[in-house]
Structure formats: structure tokens, C-alpha cells
């Protein structure tokens, strides 16, 4: 099945999300090419093993509408039937635009897919990962948004061997671009992740989590509830609408464990949960659950490490 994978430039190379999809595409033996979207000069996104086209956008334009126009041409000219993108801000915008152009609804939050003749069967995770919802797409054009960490990242030597297409457009101007400084361990690749929820009671208590995280060299995440409350930036949200993490150890502090949160962390190798409420759903997926007052136990762990 002729396939297009949409990638992005992250840290001057091809995004992890795209490399994860490459693994699945190789497993299925799909005939694929990649289009990568970014603003950098000559990023390392090429490879000997696939054709890549770099759509270089101006960082001062909101150009994804114009990128979608170009993608539409590529899809038509190369008779591509399957389009795969990681479920990121950019991926969501592009897949949405293309689904309208080709009058074919996308499937979002896909965790796995298989080819069945001319159709594609997609799987979504529902009920906090306890069930899989399977759908069949039979329209000529198929658009899938793939959740991060659904497949292993392909290990490839990346180079600058690709064709570049400059995107120029009349799109809205972008200004005051702010790059969040990345300090300390990052959620995506840290071996230990400590996440906080409403059970931490007040944003001031997050310093307790910070202290423990520094000692364990852990990344810090949070639930949607505390991100919405403004305790933490959105970039640290773990769950359905935030990040998916799979660390060796996940420590959930004061998190009840709504299914939307579980989707983002349930595949961690070992889950430790601390919660006051004995009935909290997080205990159903925890390897080690401690029914305790989170606020008093966290500093004790930090002190005694």
C-alpha cells in the first residue's frame, strides 16, 4: 500500500514519532516515503532507506495550511492511499486539513494498525487501556494519527540527503517565538518519571516533588487537572491529551488515576502509586501501591534516600 509518513524536525533531526512509524511501516512492508516539516536549515532527516522531502517553512508564518496544499499534490501525484502522522500539534493540523481535502475522516489516537486487502484496521486504546476499539477504513484515502510510543523508534543513520521544498505563503504572521528551555531530565526519555496530581493539594507543595526528582534524577509530569489549574506547563502533562511515557519507574503522587491519565503512563515498566484514597483507580494498575498521606511521605523518602 503506497504510504506517506509525515515527520517533523526536532532538535535538528527527524522526530522520534516519525521514526516510530517507520518501524511499523517496515514491519508491514509498506511502500513509503516521508515528508518532513520544519523551519531549520539542513536538518538531519534523510536516510538511505527512504525518500524524504523537506518542506521548509518560514518560522514567521503559520504555514501548515500551505504545507497541506503541497501534501495534497504529492498524495495525488504519487497515488498514495495511506497517510500516517504522529499525534502532535503539527500532525493533528495537517491530517485534519488533508482529511477535508480528500473527504475521508481520519482516525485519531491510533496505537496499532494492520493492512487487510485494500482496507486498514486501526486500534484505539479506550477505558484507560483496558479495551481496544477497532475500526476499518475502506475509503481510497486513509489518514491516521498515531500516538507516540506505540512502536519502537527505528535506529537509522540520518543524513542530509533529501529534496527541499521552500514553503512561501500568505499565511498569518507569527512573532515572539519563545523556546522553552529544556533543563534536567525530559519526560520522553527519562528512566524515572515522578508525576503529581490534585492530591498534592497546593502548587507550593510541588517543591516536594522537585526535591525528590532531583535526588532520583527523574523527570516531572502532572495530570491534566493540575496543568489546567496552572501548576505546571502543558508540556509536562501526562495522559490522553498530553505525553505518553514509558519509563522504568513511574511514581504517581496524589494521582487518582483517571483513565485519561492512565493512557499516558500505564505501559511504564514499574508503577509506584501513593494516594490517601484506598479506592483510587491508580492502585489497580500500580505494582506497588501505598495508601498514605502523600504530602508527609514525599519529604520522608527524599530525606532518607
Amino acid at each position: 500500500m503506497k504510504t506517506l509518513i509525515i515527520g517533523e524536525v526536532v532538535d535538528n533531526k527527524l522526530s522520534t514519532g516519525a521514526l516510530e512509524i517507520v518501524t511499523k511501516a517496515n514491519d508491514l512492508g509498506l511502500d513509503y516515503e516521508i515528508v518532513t516539516v520544519g523551519t531549520e536549515e539542513s536538518p538531519n532527516i534523510g536516510s538511505e532507506s527512504f525518500k524524504n522531502t523537506y518542506m521548509k517553512c518560514s518560522e514567521n508564518k503559520l504555514s501548515l495550511g500551505s504545507v497541506a496544499d503541497k501534501l495534497k499534490n504529492i498524495i495525488e501525484e504519487n497515488t498514495i492511499s495511506l497517510v500516517l502522522a504522529p499525534s502532535t500539534y503539527v500532525g493533528r493540523d495537517l491530517i485534519a486539513f488533508l482529511s477535508v481535502d480528500f473527504k475521508s475522516s481520519q482516525v485519531s489516537n491510533v496505537i496499532n494498525f494492520e493492512i487487510e486487502g485494500e482496507s486498514v484496521i486501526t486500534s484505539n486504546s479506550i477505558n484507560g487501556g483496558e479495551s481496544e476499539y477497532n475500526s476499518k477504513i475502506s475509503s481510497p484515502n486513509k489518514f491516521l494519527l498515531i500516538r507516540p510510543k506505540s512502536f519502537e523508534e527505528a535506529a537509522l543513520d540520518l543524513n542530509t540527503n533529501y529534496e527541499t521544498v521552500e514553503i512561501t505563503s500568505e499565511d498569518p504572521e507569527v512573532f515572539d517565538i519563545f523556546i522553552e528551555e529544556k533543563t534536567g531530565p525530559q519526560l520522553e526519555d527519562s528512566k524515572i518519571v515522578i508525576s503529581a496530581g490534585r492530591g498534592m493539594v497546593d502548587s507550593a507543595n510541588l517543591s516536594l516533588v522537585q526535591d525528590l526528582a532531583s535526588k532520583l534524577n527523574a523527570a516531572i509530569g502532572g495530570t491534566r487537572a493540575i496543568v489546567d489549574a496552572g501548576w505546571m506547563p502543558y508540556s509536562q502533562q501526562v495522559g490522553q491529551t498530553g505525553k505518553t511515557v514509558k519509563p522504568d519507574v513511574y511514581i504517581a503522587l496524589g494521582i487518582s488515576g483517571a483513565t485519561q491519565h492512565q493512557v499516558g503512563m500505564k505501559d511504564s515498566k514499574y508503577i509506584i502509586a501513593v494516594n490517601k484514597d484506598e479506592e483510587a483507580p491508580i492502585f489497580q494498575i500500580a505494582d506497588l501501591g501505598l495508601v498514605a498521606d502523600t504530602l508527609s511521605i514525599v519529604p520522608k523518602i527524599t530525606e532518607n534516600l
Binding site: 497541506a68 475502506s138 507569527v174 491529551t241 520522608k300 523518602i301
Partner: protein, 249 residues
């Protein structure tokens, strides 16, 4: 300025979602998706500054219309809603088709959404509507500064960026982008007399098709034989010992 703001009625989010033949079971009484409160708040701030007319748009099974009332209580002027049995189990594109038509019906300059609903989570409807309307989509807005012009701050994967709001566009607002207002008793009573126009699918130009077929829902649960310990003072040590065993420290 005319603004359409989307409000979705969803089953009580505290309860687990259940399915029937692939479709989410929707009780007669559904509530306003909290995610939409952020979009409604932005619409109302624009209304206050530019004297805009704000109309709530919604589709799906209306039931008691509790969620629509909750949206109106915040302060919009009225609502335009569409219910049709044939729309049950709509895919994203079908939903976007209806919502873009509702936006056209109210002649909206600006159409505002949350970023993704709490029950469906497809996360693409605002962008699809913008493409159908042929206007720019300013997605993932996390801050709004309203002066003579409106400056929108977008969340990006690496940080943020700002865009001046175009005169015709679609916005999607992230949760936490603004502080939604709480209606008081007067607002709640006033909402009851606000106009709600109900139309059917025959009143709009509808041409989306179902291209997705429900296959099945498979149980993939693995009951974990985890330990649950009630802290009796030494709980912290149990965690430290476990971290050592796991070679995390």
C-alpha cells in the same frame, strides 16, 4: 463581529464511558464539556471588547439540553443546535461538516472551539472546520490579549508563539488558556429565556460520508497482581527499598 462558539454535550465525565455497537452511550441528560468553557470564555471576552454577538453552536443528541443551558449561562446571546438521528456515530469529518454549516448559518467571523472533547478526543474538529470554511486556523491557544487588536499565544511543541487574530478565522483554545467565568443565579435565570434555534440536517448543506466502520471492542485488560500497602509509618522505607531493588538508585 459575529462569533460562533462550539459547545458539546457529553455524558457525566466522572462516569466511565460505555459503548453500544461502537457508539458512546449518551444519556438523556448530558453536561457541557468543561473543555468548551475555555472557548466560551474567549468568545465572551471578545464580546465585551468588540460588542460581538455570540452564538453557541452544537450538534448531537440534545436530550434535556442541560449542557446547552450551561453554555448559555456563561453569557452567550443564543444558540443554534442541530439534532438528527442519522448523525449518531458521526466520524470527525461528518461532525466538522455540520459545525461548519452552523458557523455559516450564524455568519460567524470567528468560530471558537476547545482543542479536543473529553469523550471523543479526536482533536481535529477545529482544524477541519477551518479548512471547510476556507479560513486560517489558530490552534492550541494558551493565552489571549485583547486590545485594539487581539494577540493570541499558541502552544507549540517547543514553547509558544504569537499571532494577531485575523478578521476571519477558527480558534481552538487549550484548557487553562483563560479562566472561565462562573455564572451567578441571575445568569442562570437569564439563560432560560435566551433563544435556542433548532434546525435539522435538511436545513444545511451536508455531504460528508461515513468511511469508518466499527469492527469490535476487545478486552485487553491485564489484571496486575500489584501490592497495596497501608502506611503505618514505614511506608517511605518500603518505597526506598523498592527503588533500590529496581536499581533506580
Amino acid at each position: 463581529m459575529k462569533i460562533a462558539v462550539c459547545a458539546k454535550q457529553i455524558p457525566d465525565p466522572a462516569l466511565e464511558i460505555t459503548y453500544n455497537g461502537g457508539n458512546i452511550n449518551r444519556p438523556d441528560e448530558q453536561v457541557l464539556d468543561d473543555t468548551d468553557r475555555y472557548g466560551i470564555e474567549v468568545a465572551l471576552q471578545l464580546k465585551e471588547k468588540f460588542d460581538a454577538e455570540v452564538t453557541v453552536i452544537s450538534m448531537g443528541s440534545l436530550g434535556t439540553e442541560k449542557g446547552i443551558q450551561q453554555a448559555l449561562q456563561m453569557g452567550p446571546d443564543g444558540a443554534l443546535v442541530l439534532e438528527d438521528d442519522s448523525l449518531s456515530g458521526s466520524n470527525s469529518l461528518m461532525t466538522a461538516n455540520v459545525l461548519s454549516e452552523l458557523s455559516k448559518k450564524v455568519e460567524a467571523d470567528i468560530t471558537i472551539f476547545g482543542t479536543e472533547s473529553t469523550d471523543g478526543y479526536s482533536g481535529v474538529i477545529p482544524q477541519q472546520v477551518s479548512r471547510m470554511l476556507g479560513v486560517p486556523c489558530i490552534s492550541y491557544i494558551k493565552a489571549v490579549d485583547i486590545d485594539e487588536s487581539v494577540t493570541l499565544t499558541r502552544q507549540t511543541s517547543t514553547g509558544s508563539e504569537k499571532v494577531v487574530m485575523p478578521s476571519n478565522c477558527v480558534l481552538s483554545v487549550t484548557a487553562g488558556g483563560v479562566e472561565p467565568r462562573y455564572p451567578n443565579f441571575k445568569d442562570i435565570m437569564a439563560a432560560k429565556s435566551k433563544p435556542i434555534e433548532r434546525i435539522s440536517i435538511a436545513d444545511i448543506s451536508y455531504n460528508a460520508q461515513q468511511n469508518l466502520e466499527f469492527v469490535d471492542i476487545k478486552d485487553v485488560s491485564t489484571t496486575k497482581q500489584g501490592e497495596k500497602i497501608i502506611d503505618e509509618g514505614e511506608g517511605f522505607q518500603i518505597i526506598i527499598d523498592k527503588l533500590k531493588e529496581l536499581k533506580a538508585i
